[in-house]
């Protein structure tokens, strides 16, 4: 039972990270109808910048800030520089371009920094705190959960409460009508990509200390899990990303704890297959309003 509680706790903590990363995928899917297969590679560029800044200044917080800024900048460059080549006629061209970007970014990082795993230290204690003899979350886990949930809440406020958010949503749902209303749709798309890429970079930065370390492929698995989360939650649904993230996090944590870490990818694959076959629109997507 103690073990179960511990696994549940770590699962929820990892789940918030998956959710944050998945939210980045959802934002981009909603605004451009592209699943950003390059999200992992883009995010890891931001993490390299952040780790370098931390190394230079000695401050974790400056590094974290640099990660977010660099991630957003990568999003800007990709959206402005690369995405205009994605053909609206072929839904596959976006995926193919993203694959090209993944290969380019990862090989550039490999050439610049090598393929080895560089350990990244957590800014807080990573050992779980015992509560009544039961190991629970570590301080770092708590930090991760607070930051991830905080950012998601902030994004929600931005989207629901502000005029910018209203324009972002309108541009995503009906680009042409939005233009007729004076919404600068191209700019909104860029803003969406910048926000998403920054959020994904932050999620990757928070995840790296819990993984093997930093290398050009460090976010690959995070991307695969986040994709699963986005599918489980519904690619169109930001709320679904949170619920899906927590679900996938807990499932993975339980599988890792009881069946072994090697099986986790298989479990994720199984979950993905089941959800795709049973409810392709996602478990938590609201009754499909769109294109009904």
């Amino acid at each position: 039972m103690d073990r179960f509680v511990f696994l549940l706790g770590t699962g929820l903590a990892r789940g918030t990270l998956f959710a944050l990363f998945a939210l980045a995928l959802v934002l981009i899917w909603r605004s451009t109808r592209i699943v950003n297969f390059a999200a992992g590679a883009m995010a890891i560029v931001g993490v390299y910048v952040g780790v370098a800044v931390t190394g230079l200044t000695g401050s974790y917080w400056l590094g974290l800030l640099a990660t977010v800024l660099a991630g957003g900048l990568v999003g800007l460059v990709v959206e402005r520089g690369l995405l205009r080549f994605a053909s609206a006629r072929s839904p596959l061209s976006g995926v193919i371009l993203a694959i090209g970007l993944v290969i380019v970014l990862q090989s550039l990082l490999g050439i610049a920094f090598g393929q080895q795993h560089t350990p990244v230290r957590a800014p807080f204690d990573d050992r779980p705190v015992q509560v009544g003899g039961v190991p629970l979350l570590s301080p770092y886990d708590v930090f991760v959960v607070v930051v991830a949930l905080g950012l998601m809440a902030a994004l929600r406020l931005l989207f629901v409460r502000t005029t910018l958010g209203l324009q972002l949503r309108a541009a995503a749902f009906e680009p042409e009508v939005s233009r007729l209303l004076g919404v600068r749709v191209a700019r909104m798309r860029t803003v969406g990509w910048v926000l998403a890429a920054a959020a994904a970079s932050l999620a990757a930065m928070l995840a790296v200390p819990k993984e093997l370390g930093l290398n050009p492929h460090a976010a690959d698995m995070l991307f695969v899990y986040a994709f699963t989360v986005a599918v489980v939650g519904g690619l169109d649904s930001p709320g679904g990303a949170l619920l899906g993230g927590l679900t996938v996090g807990v499932v993975m944590s339980l599988v890792t704890g009881y069946l072994g870490a090697t099986l986790t990818p298989v479990a994720v694959l199984a979950l993905l297959v089941v959800v795709l076959l049973v409810r392709p629109s996602g478990l938590f997507a609201a009754a499909e309003a769109r294109r009904a």
Partner: protein, 366 residues
């Protein structure tokens, strides 16, 4: 193209390629065998993506399925006392069946999914390959399955080296796979695939079952990918998860896009590129006076960088890929010839390649 012509073309190509092996040294023959193995996979992938419009990032996993099917069947038959050609054929068929069944499952899922979902599912599949290899005992984890050494069969032993023999076998399997795909492409099935790709609803109204066509496309593509895995296992005499990574999966896609989606010639160009580009880049970097530390970093990553850039540049500038660019160049040449000839009565020929969905230009969006 008539079926007979396709068969003759396939046979002629095979004879030509086998003749080529006599001109190559053993290492080149080994590379040729690898090209043939990758060709099975890229040809299947290009038909899947180009004709049926389904994107798979998991063809490396299907190759792995074929490879393991080949190796395990071969082992079982060896211990049962079967050898030689029967063993090879049975193992190859087993590879095709294993990959085909996996492809059937994927296709069943894929028929209900839009492009990006299917891409993600297949990506997750290839990510899970090492985990599956580790958790199923017979697959022996990261170490993989080693094959018993198999030399050149008796009568040929005095004549050709092992690599040349392997190249022959690889080329023969590739010829069967590619010819089969060409027949599918030119036949009714290919027509149905294109119909479903272009407009599922219209296809359904014309009496085509889109789901069945898509599943069929996936199975056909998986079978040839499985054959590719079998050939690769035969040539390298082992199969392990390390050979079927996400990177390979993505590179297969790069190869077919660079070659030109839907074009079997393009798939061949792509397969050649997959084998030759790393070697070419390696040769060039070896010639440059670089410190060993740099060479070490560049080795393996620089070819990837070239692949990635090539992919992006091609998608941006020549969506038809190399094969499409060739066709376009030919069309341009023909157009020029026609313009210099006595004036044609019809409107001047359009210089655009017969690439689908490119010709209908909408007014520029303001």
């Amino acid at each position: 193209m008539s079926a007979r012509r396709t068969l003759l073309l396939g046979l002629g190509g095979l004879i030509l390629a086998i003749g080529l092996t006599f001109l190559l040294d053993p290492y080149r023959n080994y590379q040729l065998a690898l090209v043939a193995a990758y060709l099975c996979a890229t040809a299947g992938l290009t038909v899947l993506v180009g004709l049926s419009g389904q994107l798979s990032l998991g063809h490396a996993a299907l190759m792995a399925a074929g490879g393991y099917g080949f190796a395990l069947t071969s082992q079982a038959l060896t211990s049962a006392g079967v050898g030689g050609l029967p063993r090879f054929l049975a193992a190859t068929v087993a590879a095709a069946v294993v990959a085909g069944v996996l492809g059937l499952l994927l296709g069943l899922a894929g028929a209900r999914l839009h492009g990006p979902y299917l891409a993600g599912l297949t990506l997750t599949l290839v990510v899970a390959v090492p985990a599956v290899a580790a958790s199923v005992g017979a697959l022996q984890g990261d170490r993989g399955v080693q094959m018993q050494f198999e030399g050149v069969p008796g009568p040929l032993r005095a004549l050709i080296a092992l690599e040349q023999w392997q190249a022959w076998v690889a080329l023969a399997v590739a010829a069967v796979a590619v010819t089969g795909l060409a027949l599918v492409r030119d036949g009714r099935t290919g027509l149905r695939m294109r119909a479903v790709r272009d407009d599922e609803v219209a296809a359904a109204l014309a009496g085509i079952a889109p789901a069945r066509v898509k599943v069929l496309a996936f199975v056909v593509s998986s079978v040839t990918a499985g054959l590719g895995g079998a050939v690769l296992t035969f040539v390298t005499q082992s199969v392990s998860p390390g050979a079927y990574t996400v990177s390979l999966s993505l590179l297969l896609l790069v190869a077919v896009v660079v070659g030109g989606l839907g074009s079997l010639l393009g798939a061949a160009l792509g397969a050649v590129l997959l084998v030759l580009l790393p070697w070419l880049v390696g040769t060039v970097t070896d010639m440059l006076p670089l410190p060993s530390q740099v060479t070490q970093r560049i080795d393996g990553t620089l070819p990837l960088l070239v692949f990635g850039l090539l992919l992006i540049v091609l998608v941006a500038c020549a969506p038809g890929g190399l094969a499409g660019a060739l066709t376009a160049a030919r069309a341009r040449r023909r157009a020029r010839r026609r313009l210099t000839a006595p004036a044609p009565t019809t409107a001047p020929p359009s210089p655009t390649a017969p690439a689908p969905r490119e010709s209908a230009r909408t007014p520029t969006e303001g």
